[in-house]
Assembly symmetry: C2
Homo-oligomer: 303 residues x 2
């Protein structure tokens, strides 16, 4: 039962990236540029965007945030995207999701220049992942890939069970695992025999959003467990039942505890697992910076 | 054990399409236009292209074949694609695959205008399938979908096992089945426990290219078996072991027999199955015409 330490993986990548950005600056006179568009006042999104900006600053990425009011209108958002598509100093553009409900998210994302689409949600980029023609992936599954690589976990021939079919995690993760020669089963809310299927997983990726959903009886001994969930619990009973010791202590201080989609007792049966917090979540913003650097190099033909 | 009759499904669709094309002609003064580019002299491809042209003609699709010599060069192929992209009378463009080995297939396909890409192999179209934003699919998995629909087979909650991860069949099929609420396992040459996994399939789609590969012991009683294989056997022993009675008779006359990837004894355990020949193969060219009509309507804003 080895912990897959997301903090360690992120720190190592960030150190490499800091050096790489310096070296790119020496070579080209430029640093990678990331611009984030945020529409509206969603508090969680505001925090995410601030975290992205902070990490960019700490690595030397040229980072900008464009804040638009909730009622700015589709045309204004699209005009801003077009402006960024045509700005040579901008390598990477991100539209913070979710957009306010009044907007057609796909319609807006389609305006991103695929070569600046740092989240990789443009259909052309999704397609390139499916057919294994790119090595740049959406940040969350890319972070998982980097964690697995760091711990030398070979996926060829393994049965990977991915639970959750979002375009942000589950679908790209399934495609990436298939291209790494895993046999992949993609499960979701309509899957009838979820326990039976998860129990076959040599690797299980849980991206469900339900605290402790994957219980110990649902996993096979020695499985590799990847927990994408990040659930905030405020009831003491839930925290006691689902959280690890350190989160129980934190609950006593701050009134909430954090847990993932995989129950702590399931981790005990695993060969490797990503804890929550401390696992996948810590690599996501790191991979955003990683993608920004890749897009910078790709646009300038630097290998 | 009900036969899923590809010939019947194709005939019904063709009848509908013939009527629809007449009605579109009345409404718009135009008929859907399909142009196929074929490079080189591959005999099988020549036959496929001729069959496509014949069906187009029989339905009233405005069909053209552009034949280019094997050594015509990449620039000439791309120039032809660009010309067709800009020709308003052309709704659908198909580059017959495989291209001769000297060409970079993906590079050439990327030049297709996604809105005229009738095979749906452009990355933007592959991505749209993955995230369930289109109802136009690559012809072979689309034919399978139409067969399943015709026989009122509901996929929600079923475990579908797709064997083969090509971009032509396996990958789009897996994405389509996921979007139809099936739980999908995508298997391939690196899958270690194929029998065990196929045996779980409520639906099995075999696109492997190995005669009789899926044997009776590998399928569950009552499974729905979809056979995408089309294997030509010339040895009498193989024909006797693998072919149905009618193909054994044909072998005696013409020296070869046809069989799929699923063994005839496996079909006996099924609830429904697509025979080979007479199943999936017969719907592929039909769906090419279907897609041509959809692209015609999409470009002209006709619902």
């Amino acid at each position: 039962m080895t912990i897959l330490d997301g903090k360690l993986v992120a720190a190592e990548l960030e150190e490499q990236m800091g050096k790489e950005i310096l070296s790119l600056k020496e070579k080209t006179g430029k640093v990678p540029g990331l611009t984030v568009i945020i529409v509206g006042e969603d508090p969680a999104s505001q925090i995410y965007v601030r975290n992205k900006d902070r990490m960019a600053a700490s690595l030397g990425v040229n980072s900008h945030i464009i804040r638009m009011s909730e009622d700015v209108g589709e045309a204004a958002i699209i005009a801003e995207i077009n402006r960024l598509n045509n700005d040579d100093d901008v390598d990477a553009v991100l539209v913070q999701l979710p957009l306010p409900a009044r907007y057609d998210t796909w319609k807006i994302l389609d305006y991103l220049d695929p070569s600046k689409d740092v989240d990789r949600f443009h259909p052309a980029n999704i397609g390139m992942i499916s057919v294994n023609r790119t090595k740049i992936y959406p940040c969350t599954p890319f972070g998982i890939l980097k964690i697995l690589e760091r711990y030398n976990i070979n996926l060829s021939g393994k049965h990977a069970v991915v639970v959750g079919r979002s375009f942000i995690v589950g679908k790209p993760m399934a495609a990436m695992l298939t291209n790494l020669d895993a046999t992949v089963t993609l499960c979701h809310s309509k899957t009838s025999n979820l326990g039976e299927i998860i129990r076959q997983g040599d690797v299980v990726v849980a991206a469900i959003g339900k605290p402790g959903f994957v219980t110990a009886d649902m996993v096979k001994d020695g499985a590799i467990l990847i927990d994408v969930g990040m659930n905030y619990l405020e009831s003491e009973a839930d925290v006691m039942a689902l959280c690890e010791e350190d989160q129980i202590k934190k609950f006593r201080k701050r009134g909430y505890g954090i847990t993932g989609d995989i129950h702590k007792d399931a981790f005990k049966k695993s060969s490797y697992y990503t804890p929550v917090p401390g696992g996948v979540g810590l690599t996501t913003v790191t991979m955003l910076m990683y993608n920004t650097i890749q897009l910078f190099k790709q646009r300038r033909g630097i290998s």
